[in-house]
Symmetry: C2
């Protein structure tokens, strides 16, 4: 299955994205991917929201990419005959603003200065991500979303969709996510941000013309990576296995496989992702609280009067957004009169479980979508 | 109760500490504190082993310290009439080598160069810590330990004492600890080490004549601090409370109380602790595996033939060394014929619970000690 990277360009002032912070973002570019065809009624669309470091490339292979071996990040789930069956549904996935994978973010050129935004890029919320996706859906002529689906930070966008545009949605599948970022999750994000910001090459976010904060970014990713795994998965995968079965070297080289794995993950991430984007996206996640009315923002109460179907999925070993938080969400949605199904999947691989091919997840989502 | 900081000085070559890595450490200085009196039989001593960033100042107030408001780190537990009753027992607490709180460590002067060791300091193991404590006990004339007690990395020392010197011990109380460092625990330590080592001021450990890696050390402590708390404790203590009840600032200042708390803890730690000591002590913890015979070191099997009483304590919300790991330890010790009591204490405050005044812990330890 061949796909292409498209861009939506909102470059007129009327097209500006009015951000939750009160500032406008203009021009705005959103990278997106579509798979399948929009039907005549324009109501068979499914929006997939990617997680923190994901992108619009949700499935298939890029037709013009020399590296054609790299399928999209949810390729096992999305395609003809798969859980999200593109023979029936028109799948859309947009890169979130604030990211660095094609949409406008801190590494984009600030038209006022001709230089990359850096920290002059405005703060982004989960709501802003959703509003940017709405621009793309309008552009594509989508009238109704059969479903909105996403995991982790993508799951937050799913929930935000429900309160921002309930009239546009039939169903929603938030996976491995939470209705409000916990103190523990904020804490890990804050440590990751500090790891970047104490790197002298970060230079207050102004590093695009020189060496960037790769070392700090690498440490930030190591922290994140640990929270995406689980105690059980790490015991199974690494335990106390040593590099090359060697005895202790009695120095600070990586003796244990888990050390060398994390170092590798950190430096690999630093090569492909922008440090400022980590700051902006983690902050958006930290701000997220579906039940917070303090800023007269949309919230759970806006769901009263709407009625749609939810499939909420959590994982037994996810300690970043544990099952008790999914259950809080179930209860909160039921109180607004929604039709909620909930499933906790037994898996030892932690928060990232939804990214790992799993027939149970595919069947669950496929069955739910077809039953609507 | 007034106490003093004492020093044991092993400055002759015969006094050198033969380290597990094969290298000698000489001269060696060990800071220690004693409370109470050694009896005529010299068998009423209790050795308390401190945790990662602790020191020899276990209880009371320093008689010559201008800052006399700072009681020892386990003051609620140790003293006349307390859980560890210094009317009956002669309490000893030694600062571990590799630390920076009075005992020889990477910030000490290397006699060969006249400059601080830095990374030329040899690697230390939990076994080396125990051997250094044995030097102090010999110096004090202690013939038998009524008990060895400690939490976290201190608990590892307790277990190591049992396999190194079983003939010297009557009982042992390992608290909130593990018989082998898990992949998850190694992972967090490795991220903390990397946070220090990527700070350019770390300078390969050679920073004692200039500015040190305070920012990297601060991030390392933030990571550690999160692992010492728990999801529940952080929800209760911080939740999503904002600094000064302010609205979101939409910038990267600390909006949430948990952010500002962690930043404070990080920078406070950087003022009092040596970054290289963090590297050495975390590595010692990572090496720790009581059941590992691969280096022909002492291990669990050396307990066969000995018989003493264990009180093993874990906490429900400790996710660094969870209760399942304490139960593994219980099983392993029972297989060697030991008399093991086990108690899981219900507490929501995470790994650090043993450092927080708690009458249940005091009674448990007091009762156990008096029953031997």
């Amino acid at each position: 299955m061949k796909v292409r990277k498209h861009y939506f360009n909102g470059d007129s002032p009327e097209n500006a994205l009015q951000l939750d912070s009160g500032l406008p973002l203009s021009p705005i570019r959103i990278a997106y991917e579509t798979i399948g065809s929009l039907n005549q009624e324009k109501d068979n669309a499914i929006l997939i929201c990617h997680a923190f470091s994901g992108d619009s490339h949700v499935a298939g292979l890029y037709e013009d990419d020399p590296d054609t071996e790299r399928p999209g990040w949810w390729d096992f789930m999305v395609g003809p005959g798969k859980g999200i069956d593109t023979n029936h549904y028109f799948v859309i996935c947009c890169n979130i603003p604030g990211s660095c994978m094609g949409s406008t973010g801190p590494s984009s050129i600030n038209p006022k200065t001709g230089k990359p935004y850096g920290l002059s890029f405005p703060m982004i919320t989960i709501g802003d991500m959703v509003k940017s996706q709405k621009l793309v859906l309008d552009h594509l002529g989508v009238k109704k979303l059969h479903s909105v689906i996403g995991g982790s930070v993508g799951g937050m966008q799913v929930l935000e969709w429900c309160v921002r545009y309930p009239e546009l949605i039939r169903s929603a599948i938030p996976i491995a996510t939470t209705m409000r970022h916990s103190a523990l999750a904020i804490a890990f994000n804050e440590v990751a941000r500090q790891a970047i910001m104490v790197d002298p090459h970060w230079n207050s976010g102004d590093y695009y013309q020189s060496q960037g904060p790769d070392l700090g970014l690498s440490v930030a990713r190591m922290i994140g990576h640990v929270t995406y795994l689980s105690d059980e998965a790490m015991r199974r995968k690494f335990g106390r296995k040593r590099q090359d079965n060697k005895d202790f070297s009695f120095n600070f080289e990586a003796n244990f496989q888990v050390e060398s794995y994390l170092r590798y993950q950190g430096s690999k991430f630093a090569k492909r992702f922008d440090a400022n984007s980590v700051l902006y996206i983690t902050k958006a996640a930290d701000y997220f609280d579906l039940a917070d009315n303090s800023n007269t923002r949309e919230s759970l109460q806006d769901l009263l009067g709407s009625h749609f179907r939810f499939l909420i999925i959590s994982y037994t070993s996810d300690w970043l957004y544990p099952t008790y938080q999914a259950k809080e969400l179930v209860q909160a949605l039921k109180r607004t009169g929604q039709d909620v199904s909930f499933c906790e999947i037994e898996a030892d691989c932690g928060h990232d479980a939804f990214l790992i091919p799993d027939k149970r997840l595919t069947k669950l989502i496929g069955g739910f979508l077809n039953g609507i």
